[in-house]
């Protein structure tokens, strides 16, 4: 039996911090984590004096098929929902 697993090796780089405290996330890392222009990241200062940087996940990015098993609205359903809200119309 062969077990295949994807190893994620820890990668390290050293960088100089610019005068206003900026650092650059290497392009290769940005690509790996799908960090794009305008995306937000979260930074956490840990007790052991390390800084943890995480891509901030937008709640709409969670593709967990929340409404699994339910079909999209039909025309009849939309009409029925309208009637339910405004019965006399």
């Amino acid at each position: 039996m062969t077990i295949e697993c994807e190893m994620f090796m820890t990668e390290k780089i050293t960088q100089k911090v610019s005068s206003n405290g900026r650092i650059v996330i290497p392009k290769e890392w940005r690509d790996k984590l799908a960090i794009k222009d305008k995306n937000e990241i979260e930074m956490e200062l840990k007790e052991d004096k390390t800084i943890l940087i995480k891509k901030k996940i937008h709640p709409l990015e969670i593709n967990d098929n929340l409404f699994e098993g339910v079909s999209p609205f039909t025309e009849d359903e939309l009409k029925e929902a309208k009637k339910s809200l405004f019965p006399s119309e």
């Binding site: 305008k38 937008h58 709409l60 098929n65 098993g69 939309l78 809200l85 405004f86």
Partner: protein, 133 residues
């Protein structure tokens, strides 16, 4: 500055549907909201329509999660039906289906003409720019 658009209940449903089955136009919309290129306005009345459907389907917990996600999302505004909308409705001389009118006036409230929906009335009656799929 990001573009402002209004969405209806159908779009809200697709935001949390199987990604592969989401119509490409709405997939693009979702991606643009995540990137911050589009600010989406959700009328509370559209939320109530989806609640009606999800309650019937026995998916209340899934609906609660979806609601919490919209509330926590950047570039998403849940608009509460208010007097501003009523005052905008006063400019309409004819009576229309209230749900459609409230959603259309939500567009006016946010000074946008763009509505994501399949309801042709938004274009025909309210002269909005309909983004349909």
């Amino acid at each position: 500055m990001s573009q402002i658009v209004v969405v209806d209940a159908q779009v809200l449903f697709y935001f949390h549907y199987d990604y592969e089955k989401i119509p490409p136009l709405l997939r693009e919309l979702k991606d643009d909201v995540i990137k911050g290129d589009i600010m989406v306005i959700i009328p509370t009345i559209a939320i109530s329509e989806l609640l009606w459907k999800m309650r019937k389907a026995g998916k209340i917990n899934a609906f609660k999660k979806a609601l919490a996600r919209w509330e926590a999302s950047e570039n998403v505004i849940i608009d509460e039906f208010d007097l501003k909308i009523i005052k905008l409705m006063l400019n309409n001389t004819e009576s229309h289906e209230l749900l459609d009118e409230i959603i259309a006036m939500t567009c006016k409230k946010y000074k946008t003409n763009i509505i994501f929906s399949t309801n042709l009335k938004f274009r025909e009656i309210f002269k909005l720019e309909l983004r349909s799929w």
